[in-house]
Symmetry: C2
Subunit: 189 residues, 2 copies
């Protein structure tokens, strides 16, 4: 007998997971996704992003009744008014969230029940780059450190395997480490 407890592991419906994987294996074009964000400037460093629809699995997604609205800004020392985390902090958040979701999904797929996933990320930069004061330093982080702490009902070696596989499959980790081509188009009025 299959119980709910067997089907849902780490809060992930593993039957839905296997069904999704089978569907994409059978019809690879279901794997095509397009994600989107719209942003508008408010004042100074304050700006706001709206996120709602995306394309995936062969159709426009309509599961989000309301958009997500996210504010960004800069701290006072970087000429802002703390209206939200700053963009490089959001990058750390995107990385932490992606590695965490990958860990949870990989663990669910491998039959590992997790009880705790915590992480602490740090990125160092020399602001002379972004401020245009030096061409010898880069604009962004020189290095990011992501320290994870995992607890679960599996031996340490098994938890480490799950973490290694999650790192190998995380979309944001892969983008942040390898880079992505970005086209910027500007329309002026």
């Amino acid at each position: 007998m299959t119980t709910i407890a067997d089907k849902v592991r780490n809060g992930v419906d593993t039957q839905q997971m296997y069904a999704t994987l089978d569907a994409i294996k059978a019809q690879p074009e279901l794997g095509r996704f397009e994600f989107r964000a719209r942003n508008h400037w408010i004042a100074g460093a304050h700006n706001r992003t709206t996120i709602q629809g995306f394309y995936g699995a062969g159709q426009e997604d309509e599961s989000r009744a309301e958009p997500f609205v996210i504010d960004a800004g800069e701290p006072v020392i970087l000429l802002g008014a703390n209206t939200g985390p700053n963009p490089v902090e959001y990058l750390l958040h995107a990385l932490a969230a992606c590695l965490t979701i990958s860990l949870v999904y990989v663990a669910a797929a491998r039959g590992v029940r997790l009880t705790e996933v915590e992480s602490s990320l740090e990125g160092q930069m020399d602001a002379r780059g972004a401020f245009g004061l030096s061409d010898e330093v880069r604009n962004g982080f020189e290095h990011v450190r992501a320290a994870f702490r995992l607890k679960g009902d599996a031996p340490p070696e098994k938890l480490r395997e799950v973490a290694a596989r999650a790192q190998q499959r995380s979309a944001v980790y892969e983008m942040v480490t390898n880079g992505v081509p970005v086209t910027m188009e500007v329309e002026v009025a």
Copy 2:
């Protein structure tokens, strides 16, 4: 006579901006910053990041009385419950926010008053990478398109110059296009 209107342009205090630039020029170590994010898993794809302190300009920042708390998740089709934007959407947000702040700061420094900055970003991916179904596609976006629309009290050529300089100086744009080394450490218990 210098008026407030001269000092504050696009919501940016240009006197504070020039003072900051002068201070970092005189003492380059003031440009050292470390940004941080802490994340913990809640259930399934749902996880939460807390952002508050950072190091910069020679000291620990204490300007944020309360932490910023940000939730992430996945849509239903990606085995989540829409508890927040997903990590790759947050990456688009970080990129939009950073390019927007760069535009506003560069314009302020160059005496250009902006009246509108809007952007729309899209990233395409083949989810077979992140799902571990194919080693022939990457995990993350193949390409990101960022379409900006600017309005301001300067000729179109000047607005385009501001946009080009902002793209050249944005920290997140630089990281996303070039990549950053990330060290992942895992402690199991």
